[in-house]
Point group: C2
Chain length 262, copies 2
Amino acid sequence: MLKDETSVVSRRLHDGLQLFVTRLMARSILTADEQQAVLSLPARPITVRAKQDFVHEGEDNAHCSLIASGLVGRFRQLRSGTRQITAFHIPGDMADLSSIVRPVGIGGLHALTEVTVLRVPHEAIRSVAARYPAVAEAFWRDCMLDAAILMQWVVNVGRRDARARLAHLFCEMSIRYGIDRGMLTAYDFPVTQEQLGEAVALTAVHVNRSLKALREEKLISIGSGRVIIHDWDQLTKLGAFDSGYLIDDTLPVRKKRLLGGE
Amino acid sequence: MLKDETSVVSRRLHDGLQLFVTRLMARSILTADEQQAVLSLPARPITVRAKQDFVHEGEDNAHCSLIASGLVGRFRQLRSGTRQITAFHIPGDMADLSSIVRPVGIGGLHALTEVTVLRVPHEAIRSVAARYPAVAEAFWRDCMLDAAILMQWVVNVGRRDARARLAHLFCEMSIRYGIDRGMLTAYDFPVTQEQLGEAVALTAVHVNRSLKALREEKLISIGSGRVIIHDWDQLTKLGAFDSGYLIDDTLPVRKKRLLGGE
DNA sequence: CGGACTATTGATTTGCGTCAAAGATTGTGG
DNA sequence: CCACAATCTTTGACGCAAATCAATAGTCCG
């Protein structure tokens, strides 16, 4: 019994870590040894119920959070209580990887659905990074993708109207969900309109009206936690979406390995 | 004559690189050797006239741009021609350091004033990072500060009204300009109201009106490229500014060295 | 001195927020 | 498995912060 349980747990760990390795290898070149080192990272799985904050802003955290299943939002909260979501994290994302080098200024993490998180001790990540420079580089690169997405969010919130903001977000998530399977025209995205508003800086009411417009223009369907894109061309046009910032560095020519020899 | 010229140039190089090393050492611990390695980076100084783009989005760049003097804006341009500034870079900043690991998705660089840029070949930076893991770590950490600022910009543009956005920006720049001299209540910030608008996502007209309000409230003076903060407490309150995300990791307790031994 | 930005101010419009209330869905305990 | 509560979605009426349009003053620089 106990043995079975143990193997179920270790299977779950391996699956989650494998997702992460796959994610890293979309943009970085890692040897079999290096992959194995990441896969062997110690991790403690925890289950977080929907609507729970599980990493709190400003708290000194000794772990990174690898999302194994579910959807999480990274956010900053203002004194007024209103939140700005600054990223969505999907399975395979190490949501707060940057805390390895900089524990401050990342904001909190909120479970938008029930979520399985693999908690990986900072110490372990640091020691793998120290032993394998190419892994450290892959971590760094992963953080910079996150930053590139963030830059787009500034543009999105700063320069686009309501429909375009939503369109851009749906395009982003489509590419990210499909990164190792090609672009997806349908994907689960279990967020409320309130939460969409927290991400694109609109009220829930206006999100509702804008979604209605997008539906009437036959660009998307959205409901029951699922997005279906009916007209990718028009949607990207409306959202002024150019996938380059997400995928250009996954092209074989672009994959680089700078540190840790050849 | 030639010798004099050469020494003037090499002095200028050294000064610029020294700024960068000082910047890194505010948050990272580097040995004398490591500092020297960064200081010895090859760099070619170029002068960029005001209002010139000197790094273009999507261009494959083989250099990083260390700002030695002047003020630069990082931006993304929409098809309509409107721009969103996503960061201001001041002397000592390696504006596009992230291109070392990820050449895409950083946007362009625009000289807001006449600027001296030290162009440092990617190759040289990579080789220093490969030889000294602690330097690579310092680079990574520097990039994550940039990302933390970016997160604040999302919040700023998404969740604050015009006066608060400007207030927050003035607070950010005050801390950043004064990072090794303590917080500054007056600093040069030679941007037009148009450019302020491109940064905080407002029109120039509305920036003008909002600045007028801030002046009338006696919070700041602004004009001829200089910002004077009269009431720091009120300004931070209005902008909901908390400097933690900028400076917490410069506290001695927080400074870390993870890679490259002790 | 003249031409080109840059700042300032006014009048008007508009996209989005706010307030409110009625449906639709989801989840939960009996 | 149903009932009822809680949450989420949808729609309407109205208000407001910021955009837009437009015109006049500075200000900088060759």
